[in-house]
Symmetry: C3
Subunit: 293 residues, 3 copies
């Protein structure tokens, strides 16, 4: 199985699927193609929350603001899962969630060793042009090199197909991979908890909104246990009820709850929490327990 | 085959697909993930119109404003089809369309008997928190209970996998199901026809807009035969031509036609009927025959 | 494999998938369902750029402003690929890209010979009405004829299933097809190049924006080699840098580059080129080389 996650919208992912279908019989499952555009951190969050629900698979990820630069294309094995994508940190939070450090390993994709992507047709494509006389690993000069702007189709999809069809225990033997010395890291921000390190015992959490989901729920980085045994909290200075479910408050009313990923969310029952709380991804959030006495 | 229909947008459906792929080899087909948010009636309409075109399948439906409340999760068998979703009526119009009453039966999902959904990983998820010490049917305390906000992933997907892999004639034997005494009903509104009950013979129909589709077509609940043998009708007081096809009128012009589901639609050729007629879902529509003499 | 491309949005494509799953075991792959609505030219462009990356397949295409008129439904074989869609030109640019003229052939779908599409159910659908007493090829009168507005479900999906399950070398033997005498043609506009015909040697190109992609890149019809060996060009009178990659300029800055399809694009690094250049699909673009001396 190959899962596919991009910020490409439509129809570019279809070209990637075409390349994958050319090269492998793997089942294809879309994760999302509408990740916030070129937002590596948001994609890293969602991948970390979603990929662990899949069976062992190859996960093809393209959120790649540096496409065409000298950033590497990489492969990360994490337990029985294999992630393929750009070396900008987007894969790492998911990889760390999927497997401990001693069961992860990283590779750089040797792009010039990938079998070149060739569309069916009669040579009428006006590709090539820029950079076409750089060293291109023996590619057909009439067709031109890999594009500089669509590595999802020309680099990552071929690499995902090659990796999928190999045994994930023997990735080191693939000629298209070499061991990675280091990868660009990305860690999602952690909140500051006071006075205790345990969220269940802390009275105050200074965190931030990691992402806003399609429902408008403002998902913070404060662990859910912060809300345990409390009926209300103060969120950025305003008291809001704590609910186990959206329906704990009336339609259109605000609440703090623990989302399906385990973090405190600031929500509105059947409405948009981001609007009601005036919050966007990246915004600071101060949560404080209030005296219920 | 398992079809999937939600109002979740993206990427939450991917977590549901991950769970399904963990538990069954069933083919997965997306129906829609952009049903109008938490609009049970609109989803019920679309499911009734779309699902009958599928071969026998398990249909997983999550439009669930009451997630986390004590509303039941249910299964409805309708002929060779099985529907899985919340007990809020969303499944019933489709079930009634798919099979007559004597070939339908309902079950309640025993949520605590479902195999718990566990993400791959090393225990770093901050789940649990609210409600974690309620009776949780022996679930692993370190992982916490099913979320209160994402039953698509934690309840309905596991139930759909279990139901799919069973014989639909022997659902009663599944330990995760018990017979339903009653379900929340939902009937889509019917128009008032005058002077006759037969739409082909009526002169006046007082109905409403059931949904507006992505093209902006305002789909009413007035049966298509109301338009038979007429060149024009009056819609909310304005005379509009009746056309068999959009192209019966000029580009940008209004018409009344019979949509692909068999109801009268108020449309614009290559434009938006909802805007041109000033109509939204739920709005009252009075259609009257005009004297063509 | 059957690929599916429409401008239907959601959930109408699901009814098409249901019909396909009723009639064939073919793998289904979505190309796009959000092509610009009823924009035959934009769809033709994207299909030409995307379909050649697929292995041999049946490509089901429904962008059909003339649905329900007397326009034909057609099938075009292009090499090992078979395209199915309306006779409005949308299939032809892709067909020409996929195979030379002597390896292409066209057919008209005999709509009345297709097995009628029947939803599961108990006859409660209020279909029929308009046009129901026209000659309908023996269809069940209680169910009514094919809809006049949803040929994707009632004509093109059944035709695609029939074509897929036939040998593409023997399409001529299918009773649902007859040889096409002529089809509506569509050619995407070509730019005027001066003084030379070769883009690499031209100093001036007068073209237009073919489409704007989801990133906001304004994709012109000027072949990429026009940018070869130049550091800057003038685009509609303004000097912009030429870059091999988006990252050749700062975030938010404009550039001209060669897109993944081989044409000159006017883009913004991590921003929207259409907004920055004030361009929409169909707009005229004059590109001129500037003296770098």
């Amino acid at each position: 199985m190959i899962t596919i996650a991009t910020d490409f919208g439509s129809p570019y992912p279809a070209a990637m699927k075409g390349v994958l279908c050319q090269r492998t019989d793997a089942r294809l499952v879309d994760v999302a193609h509408d990740f916030p555009r070129q937002d590596v951190r948001a994609a890293a969050f969602w991948l970390r929350e979603v990929l662990p629900y899949f069976p062992p698979a190859t996960h093809l990820v393209v959120v790649d603001p540096g496409v065409g630069t000298d950033r590497n294309a990489i492969v990360v094995r994490a337990g029985d899962h294999v992630l393929v994508g750009p070396d900008n940190g987007v894969l790492l939070p998911a990889a760390r969630r999927l497997a401990p450090a001693d069961d992860r390993e990283g590779y750089v994709i040797e792009e010039t060793r990938l079998e070149s992507v060739e569309p069916t047709g009669t040579g009428t494509t006006p590709r090539a042009a820029l950079g076409s006389d750089d060293d291109d690993g023996g590619r057909d000069r009439d067709r031109g090199p890999a594009s500089n702007t669509f590595h999802g189709r020309d680099v990552f999809a071929p690499a995902a197909a090659a990796v999928h069809d190999a045994d994930h225990e023997t990735l080191a033997e693939l000629s298209v991979l070499r061991p990675a010395e280091a990868s660009v890291d990305l860690t999602l921000p952690e909140p500051t908890l006071e006075p205790a390190d345990s969220p269940a015992d802390a009275d105050r959490a200074v965190g931030e909104v990691l992402v806003v989901d399609d429902f408008g729920n403002a998902i913070t980085n404060v662990p859910g246990p912060f809300l345990a045994d409390r009926d209300r909290i103060e969120a950025n200075g305003e008291v809001v009820p704590v609910g186990e479910t959206f329906a704990a408050v009336g339609v259109g009313e605000r609440l703090a709850t623990v989302g399906s990923h385990g973090y405190v969310e600031l929500d509105v029952n059947q409405g948009r929490g981001d609007d009601a709380f005036g919050l966007s991804a990246g915004d600071r959030v101060v949560l404080e327990r209030v005296d219920d006495g």
